[in-house]
Symmetry: C2
Subunit: 511 residues, 2 copies
C-alpha cells in the first residue's frame, strides 16, 4: 500500500515557485466562498514521524486566513478529557459550518499506538476502527467535507530525516528517545497503519497517501487535493452540473498561472517517479538458464499443487498487464505444469447481459472453484479500476469505491485460506510497439492485434496513472501485487513461475 509513497517524488524549487502563488490565491478565494457554505471542512493529517505532518498544517495556516481555521492537535488526554468518553474532545473541537478544521494526532492515534504496543488485540483494534468509521460517517452524512492525509516515509528515509532534524539546533528538540523507539518499531506501525487506512478509507472520507520526503511535493499535493475537494463540493452544492465528474479549471485570474499547472505538474512528477518507472526493465535470462529454471519451477509447481490439492488449498492467480505484455505466454507456462483437471483458465472479456445485470464482482464470485484447485484469471476484477476507469465506463464514484470493495473481496478469499497471487505484467512502451509490429508482420500472430490495442496504446499515460493508483490502493499485506519486468519473456515467465511456487509454499506452511 505504501510502495507508491516511497518513490522519491520531488518538486524542484522553481517548479514550486511557479505554482505556489496561484494555489494560495485559489485557496483564499475558496475559503471566502466556503464561509457561506452550510458545511465544515475537516482535514485530518496523520502519518509517520518526520514526514511533514505539522509542516503541512502550518503551511495551510500560513496560506489561508487563520480566522476561519481551527487547528487542533490532540496529545495525551488531559484529566478533564479522561473524565468523559473518548470522543468528547473531538466533538468539542469540531469546526462549525463554513470553517476549516486542521486536526493532528486525531482519533487514529490512540488505537494505532495501543495496537502497536500490543495493549489491544486485533479484534479490539477492529472495533476501534469501526467507531472511527461511525464517527466519520455521522459527520459526512451531516454534510462535513472530510479529507485525510497520510504522510509517509520509508524506513530508511525516516532515519535520514530524523538524523537531519537532530543535526540542527533549531529542530533537535523534535527528535526524542521515543522517535527512535518508534523508528525501530517501524514495521509494526506500518502494518497497523495499513489496516487502519484500508478499513477507514471510504467514499465519504477517503485517505490520501502522500510521500513526505520532499516538502515542495507534499505541500503541492495537500494544497491541490484540498483545493479540488473544496471547489468540487462548493460547485455541487451551488448546483453546477457535472462538477463531480470533471473538476473545471478556473480561468487565469489575478495574473497568476492557470491552475492546470499544479495538477499537471503533479501528474508529471507521478509519472516520472511511478511504481512502474522504478522497475529494472533490463533484466533478462539467457535461453539456457531459462530452460533449466523452467524445468525446475514447473516441476516444483506440480508437486506443490498436488500437495495443495490434498490439503484442499485453492489458488487464484490474477494476470493484469499491458496489451502484448506476455500474459498468455506466462499462463501457458503455468498450465503446462499443472494437471488440467485441477486447473482452469478464465479469460475475462466484456461482461455478458446476465453479468451486467449484477454487481460487477458477481461474476468473479461465481467463478470461485471448489477446494484444492487453481484458477487463473486472464484479466480480472481490476478491470473496474483500469479499463472501466480510463474508458469512462465506470463513474469516478464507482471506481474510487471499487478499491475498497476489491480489498474486502480479496480479504475474504485470503481469510478462507485461498492463495492469491496478483501479477502485473509490465513492458515498456517501446517494447510494446516492437511486439505490435512483429505481430502485424506475422501471419499466425496477426489475429492477436486489434484496433483496440492501438487505441489503448494512445492512452498509455492514463493507464499508467491508473495502474499506479491500483497498486497503491490494492497492494496490501494480505494480497500484494507482484510486478513482472516483462521486456524479456524468459525472465518474466520464470519470475511468474517462481512467485507462484513461493506463494503456494507459504500458503501450505500456514496451513
Amino acid at each position: 500500500m505504501f510502495e507508491a509513497a516511497e518513490l522519491g517524488r520531488t518538486v524542484s524549487k522553481s517548479e514550486f515557485r511557479d505554482q505556489a502563488p496561484q494555489l494560495r490565491w485559489e485557496l483564499l478565494q475558496l475559503q471566502q466562498r466556503l464561509r457561506q457554505a452550510p458545511f465544515p471542512v475537516l482535514v485530518i493529517v496523520a502519518g509517520v514521524d518526520g514526514a511533514g505532518k505539522s509542516e503541512a498544517v502550518n503551511l495551510l495556516n500560513a496560506w489561508m486566513d487563520p480566522r476561519w481555521i481551527v487547528t487542533r492537535s490532540f496529545a495525551e488526554p488531559t484529566e478533564e478529557e479522561r473524565q468523559r468518553p473518548e470522543y468528547w474532545r473531538y466533538w468539542r473541537s469540531l469546526p462549525r459550518a463554513g470553517t476549516l478544521g486542521l486536526f493532528l494526532s486525531t482519533w487514529y492515534s490512540a488505537p494505532l499506538l495501543e495496537r502497536v504496543y500490543r495493549k489491544i488485540g486485533g479484534a479490539d483494534f477492529e472495533q476501534r476502527l469501526q467507531r472511527i468509521l461511525q464517527f466519520e460517517r455521522l459527520l459526512a452524512n451531516d454534510g462535513a467535507l472530510i479529507l485525510k492525509f497520510w504522510m509517509h516515509l520509508g524506513k530508511a528515509a525516516q532515519k535520514k530525516r530524523l538524523k537531519t532534524l537532530e543535526r540542527s539546533r533549531l529542530t533537535r528538540w523534535r527528535v526524542t528517545e521515543q522517535s527512535w523507539k518508534h523508528w525501530r518499531m517501524y514495521r509494526k506501525f506500518v502494518v497497523a497503519a495499513e489496516q487502519a487506512i484500508r478499513r477507514t478509507s471510504t467514499g465519504q472520507a477517503p485517505w490520501h497517501i502522500v510521500e513526505g520526503l520532499d516538502s515542495n511535493y507534499r505541500t503541492l499535493i495537500v494544497a491541490t487535493r484540498l483545493r479540488d475537494a473544496i471547489r468540487q463540493r462548493l460547485d455541487e452544492s451551488s448546483g453546477k452540473a457535472g462538477a463531480a465528474a470533471a473538476i473545471p479549471e478556473e480561468p487565469n485570474e489575478s495574473g497568476a498561472r492557470p491552475t492546470r499547472g499544479a495538477r499537471e505538474l503533479l501528474r508529471r512528477v507521478a509519472r516520472r517517479r511511478s511504481i512502474l518507472a522504478q522497475l529494472d526493465m533490463k533484466q533478462s535470462l539467457a535461453k539456457k538458464t531459462f530452460g533449466v529454471e523452467l524445468e525446475t519451477y514447473q516441476g516444483r509447481l506440480n508437486q506443490l499443487q498436488r500437495r495443495a490439492q490434498q490439503c484442499g488449498i485453492s489458488t487464484i492467480l490474477v494476470f493484469e498487464g499491458w496489451d502484448a505484455a506476455g500474459k498468455g505466454g506466462a499462463i501457458r507456462r503455468l498450465t503446462a505444469a499443472l494437471d488440467a483437471r485441477s486447473c482452469q483458465v478464465l479469460p475475462i472479456a466484456a461482461p455478458s447481459d446476465e453479468e451486467r445485470a449484477h454487481h460487477y464482482l458477481w461474476r468473479f464470485w461465481r467463478h470461485l472453484s471448489d477446494a484444492g484447485r487453481i484458477t487463473i484469471f486472464d484479466r480480472s476484477w481490476y478491470g473496474r479500476v483500469l479499463v472501466e476507469r480510463v474508458e469512462g465506463l465506470a463513474s469516478p464514484q464507482q471506481w474510487l469505491r471499487a478499491y475498497n470493495e476489491i480489498n474486502q473481496f480479496e480479504e475474504q478469499l485470503v481469510e478462507h485460506g485461498i492463495v492469491l497471487v496478483k501479477y502485473w505484467m509490465h513492458i515498456t512502451k517501446e517494447e510494446q510497439l516492437r511486439r505490435f509490429r512483429l505481430r502485424k508482420g506475422s501471419a499466425y500472430k496477426r489475429w492477436k492485434l486489434t484496433a483496440d490495442d492501438w487505441r489503448n496504446r494512445k492512452k498509455w499515460a492514463e493507464y499508467e496513472l491508473a495502474v499506479n493508483d491500483m497498486i497503491e490502493r490494492t497492494s496490501t499485506r494480505t494480497a500484494p501485487w507482484t510486478l513482472i519486468e516483462g521486456n524479456d519473456k524468459n525472465f518474466a515467465r520464470i519470475k511468474v513461475l517462481r512467485t507462484a511456487c513461493s506463494r503456494l509454499q507459504a500458503g501450505l506452511k500456514n496451513r
Copy 2:
C-alpha cells in the same frame, strides 16, 4: 427494542379482506415497472421461530409473479459451499436487476447462532456484523434496494405458537427438539438479535421489526412496506420530484379501494396497540404514602450520589414527555435531593446559531460533565426524532438516520461508565387538556401555557407514532427507556426517583 413488537397488534379478517386485493394489484403493477429498472430488490426475512417468516415469503410469492422472484433459504452450508468463502453462496444467489430476491436464513443466521451458542465472543460477533455491513453497503451502493424484516414474538407468544403448530398434524413437523431448545434460550437470542439489528440498521438497508402474532397484520406490514419502498425508488429513479419525502398515493384504479387504506389501517392498529396505550394510567399514590416514599427515595438518592461522586461515576437523566406531563415537577423532586454543586439541569430549547452550525449532537456532547456529576436534560437529543420529525424540521432521511446515531452516542456514554436514565413522561390526552385549562385559570401558572402547546396538542396522533418509533428503536439493553405513568403526579414523581435510585445502584455495583 422489541417492546413495540409485543403489543398484540392484530388486523381482523374483514379489515384484511378490505385491503388485500388493492395491495396485491399494486405489487403486481410495481413488479412490472421494476422489470425495466436497473436495480434489484432484496428482501431479507429473519426473526423468531414461529413468527411467520416463511409464511411472509410464501405469501409474496403467491401475490406477485414468481417468474421475477428468486426465493432462497440458506440452510447449513453444503460441502460445495464450505469449500468456498462464506459469502459465496449469497453472491451466487443475488437477484439480477429488475427482479426481486426473497431471502430466508441469510448471512445473519450463522453469526447469531454462533454467538448464542457462545462459539464466538463479542468482538468476533462484531466483526461478523461488520462484514454484513460491508456486504450490504456494497450492494446498496450499486443500486440494490434492500429491505430487512425482523419477525418478532414475545417469549410467551412464541411458546403458544409452537404449541399450536404441534397440535396440527399438518404443521407438527415444523416444531423440532431444537425449536424448544431455542425457546428456552430465548433471552440469549433476543440479546444477540438486538445487537445485530442495532448495528446493521442503516439508511441504505434498514430493519423493520414486525410483530408476528397475527398473520393478517404481519402480511399487511410486509406488503405495504415493500410496496412503498419499491414505488419510492422507482419514482426517484424516474425522476419524480418529492417522491422521497412524501410517498404519493395511487388513485383508485381497478375498482379496488384506494391505497391510503392499508397504510391508514396500519396506523390505526399501531395507535390502538401502541406502547403508550399499554400503560396503566390509573396508577396513583395516596398523599400520605407519597410523603413517606419521597423522603425515603430522596434520602437514598442523596447517599447514592455521594458514593457515585466518590467513584467518579457520572449520571445523565433525560426527560422527554408531553407538554404539561410533569417534567419540571419531577426534576425539582430530584434536584431537591442533590447537592447543587454536583448537579446541573439543562433545559434544551431551540438551538442557537452556533449550535445550528454544527452537527445536531454537538451541543449535547459539549454538555457532558466531568466525572461524578449528575446532568439532567429537560428535553434532549430526542428532539431530532420527535419535534423535528413531526414539524418537518428534519428530513425523513435525517431523522431515520438519527436513531442509529443516537444509539451510538448513548453506547459511548454507557461504555464510559455513565449511568444513563431516559424517562418518557406520559399523560393521557384528556389529562393534558385538564392541566392546560388549570394553567389558563391560574395567574401564576399561566405563563407556562403557550400557543405552541395548543398547536402541539393538535398533532397528538403524529407525536404518538413518533414516540412509539423512538422507543422501538432506541430502547436498547444498554440504554432502556423508562415510561412514567404521569396522570397522577405523586405516582410519577416517586417512580422517577425510584428508577434513578435503582439505576444508580446498579451502576455502582458494576464498578
